[in-house]
């Protein structure tokens, strides 16, 4: 680790101020991604601004058909929340399968989304459910938020404050964990929304999370697993790495997609 200045922000505006004043400041949430990066000296921010003291960013609320989750809410809180479990069980289930207990007790939804790891689970939930990412400056729909590998639409000093999930008619997330890291080798979120079906895939895209148009229109036609026995036209480039070829991942998209549809009932 290189040296840095540490600030514990008491509010979002406090954090924003500190970010602005720093020459190269960085937000730290659960630290589960950022701290290992610092320890390996892969990053050297001048300042770390800790959101741990911003109580306004933590918590879950349900309002009609919308579930709002504060950016600093941990994976464990989402997994164990009775409200999330009843409104969007797929989301609680997804959170309960992230990493291990230690990671779930510290890692946050805001940190996960801001980081946009191509194998992370939450991006599939946001894109699949058509969530809205709320920042201290604006609201960004998930379709515009995830812009590439570890890239998002966030501006330099922008802070995620909450994520708003619309309640689906039904939804299911199926993850094929990488046998080594347990991140998603492929994870598929299938959600039947009032506006139509959405299918989002994480783990497989060379540019990160993406939607599968062919699956969505097929499921709009008939919401059954067999509808997915079609060609997946217009797929983006798929990842190739030591854990799986693009072909293997493409197969998993279909298999996990079908299992998600089946599990939706």
């Amino acid at each position: 680790m290189y040296e840095f200045n540490y600030h514990k922000a008491s509010s979002v505006s406090d954090a924003e101020q500190a970010l602005r004043n720093a020459s190269d400041g960085k937000i730290v949430a659960g630290g589960q991604t950022l701290l290992p990066t610092l320890k390996q000296r892969l990053a050297s921010p001048s300042d770390l601004i800790d959101l741990g003291g911003c109580s306004e960013l933590c918590g879950i609320s349900v309002d009609g058909d919308t579930v709002t989750i504060g950016a600093m809410t941990t994976h464990a809180m989402v997994a164990n929340s009775a409200e999330v479990q009843s409104a969007i069980p797929a989301l609680a289930g997804l959170a309960s399968n992230i990493g291990d207990a230690q990671v779930r007790n510290l890692g946050t939804i805001g940190g996960s989304i801001a980081n946009n790891d191509p194998a992370a689970d939450y991006p599939a939930a946001c894109l699949g459910l058509g969530a809205v990412i709320v920042t201290d400056k604006r609201e960004i729909v998930a379709d515009d938020f995830f812009t590439g590998l570890f890239e998002t639409a966030l501006d330099e000093h922008e802070i995620i404050t909450a994520i708003r999930f619309p309640k689906p008619e039904k939804a299911c997330y199926q993850k094929f964990p990488n046998p080594a890291s347990r991140y998603a080798l492929v994870g598929v979120m299938v959600a039947k929304m009032s506006s139509g079906v959405r299918v989002a895939v994480t783990g497989a895209g060379a540019d990160g999370v993406f939607r599968v148009d062919a699956f969505e229109s097929a499921l709009d036609g008939s919401f059954s697993a067999s509808s997915l026995d079609i060609e997946m036209v217009h797929l983006p480039d798929l990842l190739e790495d030591i854990h799986g070829s693009p072909g293997y991942r493409e197969n998993l998209i279909r298999v996990m997609g079908k299992r998600a549809v089946e599990a939706c009932g």
């Binding site: 046998p179 890291s181 030591i242 854990h243 072909g247 293997y248 197969n251």
Partner: protein, 755 residues
Amino acid sequence: MAGNQEFDADRAQDFRVVGTRPARPDGMDKVTGKARFGADMNMPGQLIGKILRSPHPHARIKSIDASEALAMPGVKAVVTAEDFNADAKDRDVLTNIMARDKALYEGHAVAAVAATSRIKAQQALKRIKVNYEILPHVTDVDAAMQPDAPILHDDMFTQGLDEKPAKPSNINARHEFGHGDVEKGFAQADIVIERDFKTAATHQGYIEPHACVANVGADGMSELWVCTQGHFHVRSQCASLLGMDVSRLRVTASEIGGGFGGKTTVFIEPVALALSRKAGRPVKLVMTREEVFKASGPTASSSMRVKIGVKKDGTITAGEASLNYQGGAFPGAPADFGAMSAFACYDLENVKAVAFDVVTNRPKGAAYRAPGAPMSVFAVESVVDELAKEIGMDPFDLRLKNAARDGSKSSYGPKFGKIGLVACLEAAKAHPHYAAPLGPNQGRGVASGFWFNFGGETCSNLNVNEDGTITLAVGTPDIGGSRASMCIMVAEELEVPYERVRAIVADTSALGFNDTTEGSRVTFSSGMALIKAARKAKEEMCKRAAMMWDIPAEAVYWAEGAAHPSGPNAGDFEPMTIEEIAGSAAKTGGPIAGHHEYNADGAGVSFGTHIVDTEVDPETGYVKILRYTVVQDAGKAIHPDYVEGQFQGGAVQGIGWALNEEYIYGEDGRLQNATFLDYRLPVASDLPMIDTVIVEVPNPGHPYGVRGVGETGIVPPLAALANSVSAAAGVRLTDLPMSPPKVLKAIGATKLAAE
């Protein structure tokens, strides 16, 4: 391998302490964090060492310029190959711990720095200028054997051929074992199956990285604190590598967080000593996990062909194996052990195993639990499984029909003594696991395995303290609960409570030479030494009692932790307890002790049989383990918990090897997965409870019948898993690890995955 007849069957009838499960003496320290492992030691004034490693898999080192690094504040010493004894006994180890003319693998040490902090040492590494001439490399075993392969060592001419070859190659040696005439045997067979197999290199995966602190005094008197399986071996290696007298180096073994064979040699220890000698201060060196992967001693990868012939009645007429093992950049891939173990479970008339020990641009392999055996046994037991199906015979019946028994001529030469293979096979066949129903996409696999076990040089001390408690000094680091077993055996022999005995692992200055904790030897050899030491102490205590009673020593016997007069003629005395005898030792001749030093012979070979059920997901290729049972001959389980733990641990490591673990090299000759995020060890959530059955066929060579149990357990799982997954998937899998993409490809479920 026939040792003395040591086993006492009458004695074994009424063990009081042996076979119980008391708490282990190191348990409390380990669960409370008090135990001191390699990196827990710090010495006053200590520097931190860091090693500069080659980024290239194969390169000539043209020059090393450390002047800039040495000029940095806080940097106290830099060492390179020149700082070691060029005449050291073991040239390969000398060249492995610090590259001399060439870097032979990615991660090969080329220089090292000692500085006042880790950060300063790391910064200094960046300022050492190494001028490399990059050479072509080879990391695959079959590719390395090709005539046009890049050659690692110009002076490597294959040994074991009838004639010395004209040209150097990467094949260090050819080994052959067997007897009979395999061609004749195959001609007698009704069915012959021949297949090719591959296994990947894996790492022992011990959780504690290598760590040590070295302190070389100005007068040359030196100390080394180190996490190792064998501190005496570390001492002789380091003394030779540094050109110093053995007596000047005192090595203390720390507690150890796993070794599995990987900590039986030296890597950073001589480097820390060389840095300390040069800097004149203690130097601490700790490997990172990436260094452990890239620059310690993983096991061999292999490419094998096995051919076995069988008659319709199940008689195996011949078995033949050809084994290519690469063990990294230096000779020593355990191909010979692979060839010796391949058919050890069978009593065959015609058998032949040929093995090649091959070098590649990978880190120098070290031992890994039953080195060499899991691979060849995987190949043989896979073919046996297929033959059983082919002739419609139960796989246990086929194995029983051909099993090695007491007195069988082993496939590697000697005749077996008393062995427990048939007992294991019968116990496995009768186990409820074998009769349990299976569901769709599920399969059951069975396989047996074998390991030699080792005895070796041993020296142990026993002291009867002034209050009648006992302290044991053992020279073999405890990596599997052996301190508990030592205390049990001494408590048994002296007939005192387990709690009255304490065992410590003594440093190299306290005992004569001890071979390393390897070859499943410790409970056997250190245990036997302590039993004999206890017998000497007992004899001495009887003598002391006799002296106080003023009767002949022969008229006294030992029982219930006390000396007794042998009968009314000897005299009418109350038994004299060990506490009383110890308490008056000053008056009867001074301290009471026992010791025993020998080269232990007669380590009984050990066999085991595993059963595993798996379920294969036909759409993803994912393999789930449903149920696992280990049956193994322990000779005698001194502390059954640790025996079961060894069985389970071996099975788990074998499961990892079979399903997930793999050293993956890129085209660039660099390791692609040197982290636990990319190299998957099985963890608790991947596994069912591993059931165990301890078979006890006493080893005649040990007073209590002990056989080594640490290694055999890793031998059957590769084959058992392959047989189980093949049954579940409906296709024979011959290439490990059976990762999901590979299994799916074999199933051919999708044309996409088949690309």
